[in-house]
Symmetry: C2
């Protein structure tokens, strides 16, 4: 009974959050954007200026995705010129908390790589 065929293309049933992580982390700029927002750089313009190579289109794709996942929360101020700010939700905080743990694994990882 050790080898029952797993569902179709979507592998083992992965927890939602895990496939979310796949989705988020698989996208090139997501982590960088999250780091910036966490640092308080939360306006699209500022984010774009902070990340060389990131374009408006891609940034908006990421922001939308992160917002859909409720990792970020969008707040628009009805002003001229328009102002928008993105914040981490409390859920988002927990999510990147996990990412931080990955960072914590970092030193160990480097050692691992050294004694090749």
């Amino acid at each position: 009974m050790s080898e029952q065929k797993i569902s179709s293309s979507r592998s083992i049933q992965l927890p939602l959050v895990t496939s979310m992580a796949e989705d988020i982390l698989g996208c090139k700029w997501s982590l960088a954007v999250l780091q910036l927002v966490r640092q308080g750089i939360c306006r699209p313009g500022a984010i774009e200026r902070s990340l060389e190579g990131l374009t408006t289109k891609v940034l908006n794709e990421r922001l939308r995705k992160l917002t859909n996942y409720k990792i970020l929360q969008r707040q628009a101020y009805p002003e001229i010129p328009p102002r928008v700010e993105y914040r981490l939700t409390s859920f988002g905080e927990k999510f990147i908390g996990i990412l931080d743990q990955m960072a914590a694994l970092d030193r160990e990882f480097k050692d691992k790589m050294l004694d090749d």
Copy 2:
């Protein structure tokens, strides 16, 4: 001083492990493969048979990547027919431990999604 330009294309200096996570999770089958290995299904043939849709080529790409990152360890037995087994390294255990924490966030995530 709040907006110094970040390096070129590679964003904030992300911890190695984090970009590793990006790399791993961005690949479609990596998580499924890891789950299987953890369950003791550690031979390429068995893995391939367990994951419908996964092809030899892609599986080997994943296995190599996971091995390069020292998440998996390859052991070949000099027999005929050849036998190969992949194991989680201790580092790999820690790595998927973090993935498990994501799974732990799962219930909360679902709730979050419900009260949309």
